[in-house]
Symmetry: C2
Amino acid sequence: MSTAPEPPTERGDRWVPATLTEVAERAGVSRATAARAVGGYGSVSAPARERVLAAAAELKYRPNVIARNTRTGTTTTIGVVVADISNPFFGHCTRGISDAARTGGFDIVVVNTDEELQSERAAVQLLLDQRVAGLVVAPASRTDGRHLVEAQEAGVPVVLLDRRVKGLTADRVFSDNYGGAEEAMRRLVGAGHRRVAYVSSAAGPQGASNDAELDLDDLITSAGDRIRAYLTSLEEVGVRQPREYLRLCPYGEDAAYTATAELLALPVPPSALFASDSVIALGVLRAVHDAGLVVPDQISVVAGDEASWARVTTPALSTVVQPVYELGRQSVRLLLERLAEPAGAPRDLVLPAHFVDRDSTGEAPRT
Amino acid sequence: MSTAPEPPTERGDRWVPATLTEVAERAGVSRATAARAVGGYGSVSAPARERVLAAAAELKYRPNVIARNTRTGTTTTIGVVVADISNPFFGHCTRGISDAARTGGFDIVVVNTDEELQSERAAVQLLLDQRVAGLVVAPASRTDGRHLVEAQEAGVPVVLLDRRVKGLTADRVFSDNYGGAEEAMRRLVGAGHRRVAYVSSAAGPQGASNDAELDLDDLITSAGDRIRAYLTSLEEVGVRQPREYLRLCPYGEDAAYTATAELLALPVPPSALFASDSVIALGVLRAVHDAGLVVPDQISVVAGDEASWARVTTPALSTVVQPVYELGRQSVRLLLERLAEPAGAPRDLVLPAHFVDRDSTGEAPRT
DNA sequence: TTGTATGCGTTATCAT
DNA sequence: ATGATAACGCATACAA
């Protein structure tokens, strides 16, 4: 029998990595010493450490993470709660989250809520059951954050991504949606537009009441910030009924199409269209096209969020650009810092957003 | 003191849910009985069960998932390994995976590889360390799947998504990329195109050698299937050097732009462009636009995968459409079935893909 | 039907 | 510096 690497234990027909106990035995030390050696903590004599490390390598030792978790009561997993991972905005956010998490030695479990509070509550509960180390959440509700408060009380820090929640004190990271939208509106208004319509999906899956009695205080999401900038900009130039052309519709391209079609069929249709995000913009552009309108001569179009395809439409779509990937990265940075320092005042991180004027914005028609 | 629900134990400043032991004590039964009652297995007398359930409710008992995992040696987590979650293709796949997983009581941890084998290997190792129940992988390498074989040997089933790997026997789900691309080529060839260029990112992050000596056998990915359909279609109509206009470039829009620009600058430029996927298409379209070419009069363009924005370009982009979301869903279905029945022959699931002819395809110029 | 006892693999405490 | 041992919370074989 040679000293060739012994194969890790084989049990049943599965290949189970060697345990710390086996490493310790092979190295001729106790489990405690072996643990210290592989864990790199406490004090271990050089020769002992070497023997342990050698044994570990020979046995292809891999620490059993779930056993470790049992013992420590937590994991190195970050829960990510978003509306829809297939939405490019969240796709890029998540990529940022993932990259930052990995750098910090964490991995991520992703859950979609479809903007439904019920779904989000269940998701958060499941994640807490799994003992995630922390949560990055783009909450579905602006008014109900009890489940998130519970997470915090369970010692699981929460970082709010892109959105805010009433009555929840937590670290937050979002971009300057107000400023970005304001820039876009400035361009539109400067070009003479007064009848500017706004199509937004801010209202959740079921849509919101469309009447003018909409509670502005409820609009504390990023989409709400954009809407506020929109309304304020209009008011500043003396538009009497700024909400006249404001349309809130369910999430999705088709709903945006319908809303836009209705807008364009109005007796006095808008001369410019503001799509709250890139998915909405898809519906808006299709409706404009189907109405036979040419952009920007007959109607101007802008979007409140960048789209990968903004430069391949004809004309190229003017949009607000925000650092979406960075939004994700920073949210994890904040989370990890909070993990390291649970106390301390919560922080808001506001990333810049700017309007990029491409070719879909033109002068308002004289009519 | 009333009989009001007792608050779960408070330790330190964290709110830790009650343990099974506490539930058992409160119900006046042993841990084993309590476990059977809350777990819904074994046999428990009705009154005992009721007392346990009541106690559990009062204490807001939540099973400690990680302790359970330690005991059972596995988790209810599925590892998802893709190149880039911010790529719409993987975004939609992942959404399908997530939905199907949740339905089956699993959650997902997502890892990006950026098409790098090293990264994928590390990811798989980490996931195995976490004791994921199974893996859904869109592998970066077509030739090296050792790490995936190791996963299988560890008893962790692997489902290959959208791509295949040499020497790996596993369940696979992909769409009929060959058929879809063939339909697209039929349209192009039928319209008289012979100088059809193909721009693909099949080659991984660093790009591949572009010379004609490209090993076709290595092209066993979905992108490879499309390329094969492309080459075959050209050969069938007597094109002598079908590879003349084939361009493999690194992943990304910019690389596609460059490749296309070069193609268009050729002494005898192509009359049609086949973009392997939607990200590539972005670069292709921009290059076409910058070259001042009008689609489809001067040049035709098709994409091998659907894009959300295909209908908002002018003209609307003709693409192959495949059920991407369903790809994800089915991969999990296969995985769960494999989990239930580890033995049994591996299965291939091929979903249909079809060419949707929109407005970017026209007759080949006479010249 | 119920309870006792033990194991899972790790981390951590406390003597030695 | 090291080893024996407890503890984490749950699952389960086996005895009662």
